[in-house]
Symmetry: C2
Subunit: 123 residues, 2 copies
């Protein structure tokens, strides 16, 4: 965007999209087994068919996931993380842990700010 040499911004643009990090998580939890499209959908509550498809294809484009199709009728499509995807899961898991431990604190900070900005709201 402003500096193509900032890989962190590029990475966050990818894992920051709504479903990407969750897809990586689900695929990482299932590893070393593959996961089918419908199973992924089931494990990602709220995702639409379209957004799951878009998310998976971007993971594949980025070399983070691999796709395998069984040429049956109807077809069975399987996904799994690549080695690159698995390596990303490491720092991502650290971020998840931080989130689980500290998001409540962030929520509290927001509540405090709101209370100070609009004291009447506490009525």
């Amino acid at each position: 965007m402003f500096d193509p040499q900032c890989p962190t911004r590029q990475l966050l643009d990818r894992i920051g999209t709504k479903w990407t990090s969750m897809a990586v998580k689900v695929l990482a939890e299932a590893a070393p087994h593959e996961v089918r499209f419908a199973e992924l959908r089931r494990r990602m509550p709220g995702v639409s068919q379209k957004m799951l498809s878009v998310t998976l294809h971007s993971l594949i484009r980025d070399g983070l996931a691999a796709r395998r199709v069984e040429p049956t009728v109807p077809p069975r499509v399987h996904y799994q993380l690549t080695d690159l995807g698995s390596s990303l899961e490491v720092p991502l898991a650290a971020l998840r842990t931080w989130a689980e431990e500290h998001m409540a604190q962030i929520d509290r900070a927001n509540a405090t700010s709101d209370a100070q900005a609009n004291p009447a709201d506490r009525a």
Copy 2:
């Protein structure tokens, strides 16, 4: 969004915004010293006055940064990470390291995908 119990999504919604992670990084690098608004702007190439202001205020709302105003004319405003913000810097730094080590691989994967999708583009 779909599940308020997913703290990771909430966290990514914050650090995924364009300037947040960079602001955290600059503040972390300067720590334990404070950083003034103009200095932050200088160290974040491309950020507009408005977006820096918005970014900093969201960090403050979230309890990740603190603001100190010297009541002079013109005013001097100083920012620094809170303890919570500093703790976030740890997993964020891990993500940055991963990005620096592997984004080139992701770029290569994209180039390969493009070449396979549009072979004519290689002309």
